[in-house]
Subunit: 358 residues, 2 copies
């Protein structure tokens, strides 16, 4: 098999051991003689999987099941864009717009109730997000909740620190969960589509503070959009995405073994290597403001078309995949999720240096 260096923005690289174990389970799950694809979600074997995954999720966040509830849900972050306001928006919510995903969340919330835009990234071309001090000065009091997006995959921006907000907080962590240390206890609801640092596409994690559950607005909610139904049913309100949850468990175990500490160090090293290389180069320009450069998605452009062409060719030769930028920003985007090795980043930085000096 050719070794590819997968810089794709998501669904993205996962550890090769996870692929091996998941493939084995598709053939023969835990030596049962059955495929993971053909077992009942209510079987003892799968109930153990989902319970272990839930517990591990909370453990990796440093949270307790006494204070928080973890769910595996359908629908991706996009369904959460709707569910957050559907369950919690009553008098008004505050949103922080740091790019496309925030905007999508805002659009859904506006269909349900009053939305105040507390920070509008459009005014800074989405090159920066509020730092801790700026967050502090935002008028965050008196809302049902404040909504944030921790990392923007398209512009390559990321919150480095959060501040205590004046209202409960809901955060979309789809693209940087478990990539670095976070105080997860400061948020009231955390959601993340699995397909970056958790597992394969098709499941979405939601972690909610038990106290916050009591603030769910009473409407005649559609069941699938009602967090309470999913909580009561232990994420088994309907058939969950068994394979995605099982593979997420494999990846969470890998993460536990590696430790968030080592992962976080590696991610910092990988990002430093690439940003330093870009900063030193003559032709490659980073997109995001230095203060809020993402460690997960590194966006850059090449102004000289001849250099860009040489770079593309070299990337192809070295089996670099998924590096094309999002159509909204253009240029390039190197996504460097947890499972991407420093070696893969070195292959990329060598190409950048080579192309830059060619």
């Amino acid at each position: 098999m050719i070794k590819s260096h997968n810089f794709g923005a998501g669904p993205c690289i996962l550890p090769s051991t996870v692929f091996e174990e998941a493939a084995e389970a598709v053939k023969n799950f835990n030596g049962s003689g059955l495929s993971i694809l053909e077992i009942s979600h209510r079987s003892k074997a799968f109930v153990e999987v989902i319970e272990e995954a839930r517990d591990l999720l909370l453990k990796l966040m440093g949270l307790s099941s006494k204070t928080h509830t973890a769910l595996f849900m359908h629908g991706g972050a996009s369904l959460q864009f709707a569910m957050a306001p559907y369950n919690f928006l009553s008098k008004g919510a505050g949103y922080i717009n740091t790019g496309v995903w925030s905007k999508k969340a805002i659009a859904e919330a506006k269909k349900i109730g009053a939305v105040s835009l507390l920070f509008d990234g459009e005014t800074v071309d989405y090159k920066s997000v509020p730092n801790k001090k700026e967050l502090e000065t935002l008028p965050t009091k008196g809302y049902d909740y404040i909504h944030l997006t921790s990392n923007n995959t398209i512009y390559g921006t990321q919150f480095k620190e959060f501040d205590t907000l004046g209202s409960p907080s809901i955060i979309d962590m789809s693209s940087d969960i478990f990539s670095t240390f976070r105080d997860y206890s400061q948020f009231d609801l955390i959601y993340a589509g699995a397909q970056k640092n958790i597992g394969p596409a098709g499941t979405t994690i939601v972690v909610i503070k038990n106290q916050f559950i009591e603030q769910i607005v009473s409407r005649n909610q559609l069941s699938m959009l009602d967090y309470r139904k999913h909580i009561e049913a232990d994420s088994m309100f309907n058939t969950p995405t068994v394979f995605s949850i099982y593979t997420s468990l494999l990846n969470l175990k890998w993460l536990e073994e590696k430790t968030i500490s080592v992962i976080s160090e590696n991610n910092a090293k990988k990002a430093a290597l690439l940003y330093d290389t870009l900063d030193k180069s003559a032709h490659f320009k980073g997109f995001a403001g230095r203060e809020c450069r993402s460690e997960m998605n590194i966006t850059f452009t090449i102004e000289n078309p001849a250099i860009a062409e040489a770079f593309d060719l070299k990337c192809k030769e070295e089996n670099i995949v998924g590096i094309k930028g999002h159509r909204l920003v253009g240029g390039y985007r190197a996504s460097m999720y947890n499972a991407l090795s420093l070696e893969s980043v070195k292959v990329l930085t060598d190409i950048i240096e080579y192309t830059d000096n060619a």
Copy 2:
């Protein structure tokens, strides 16, 4: 590996070749050096997968993309219970209650608008569903739509024929799609959770008549619940469940190769063998009324506890799995989806005969 006979109600058995191919793709998708779990849903490779799956879905239904649109969606049939009324219920809908799944669909519809119960299976303890003649006599005119469930997995009942209804029709075919010949063109919207005869849990197919799309009610719909958003985005409104869709394609290809004709014959043979064995036995009693016995889920009880115990033991010895009845009905349920072999059914009927005569 021990050979199991998987009679589980779903997620359920799929062809062993599908498991092999899916496992290979988890390691190395189409020789790309990448896992199917790490490729972008917008990559050329996956766009080809979803397009082929959509085309094949329509082809197997005998429908054309000129008249119908096929979607792969999140959320299972349970989300469709909500989406059908959310998109189409305006003045009133007619529902046919043939058991638990219909009731769940009715409960969601009632949150949105006026629901008329045209047939209430509760009055016959869910032992039967309307036959063609009975359907004909139901007052089905003047509704936004009539909703039916083609097969009930819990009671083991199934519609054998449908009649032209006086209003558009929406049908939940989660548990018997592609199991026998159907005139799919008679329905305006068909939905089915994948995890029976389509593929692994985590994706849901929706096939909708193009003319019917025009009848979607204008509300300020939440995007994820708006069929039009998913249609416009070719099922890529957000990241779809890549692996479930890919594996569904593998299974649809298997189905195409086998042909619905052969599958349908096999299913009829399997069901006849089991029902005949039950009918001849002294201790085993079928649950569903003869006229509407399901070919997919065969429900039965054993009144004598000693016989039941002997049967359980023998099933365990022969590696029969997933045969316990649903808690609402008790007893046993042998689910015999497309990929279950006649040989597995023979193992079961041998046990029934053996236990019955012991």
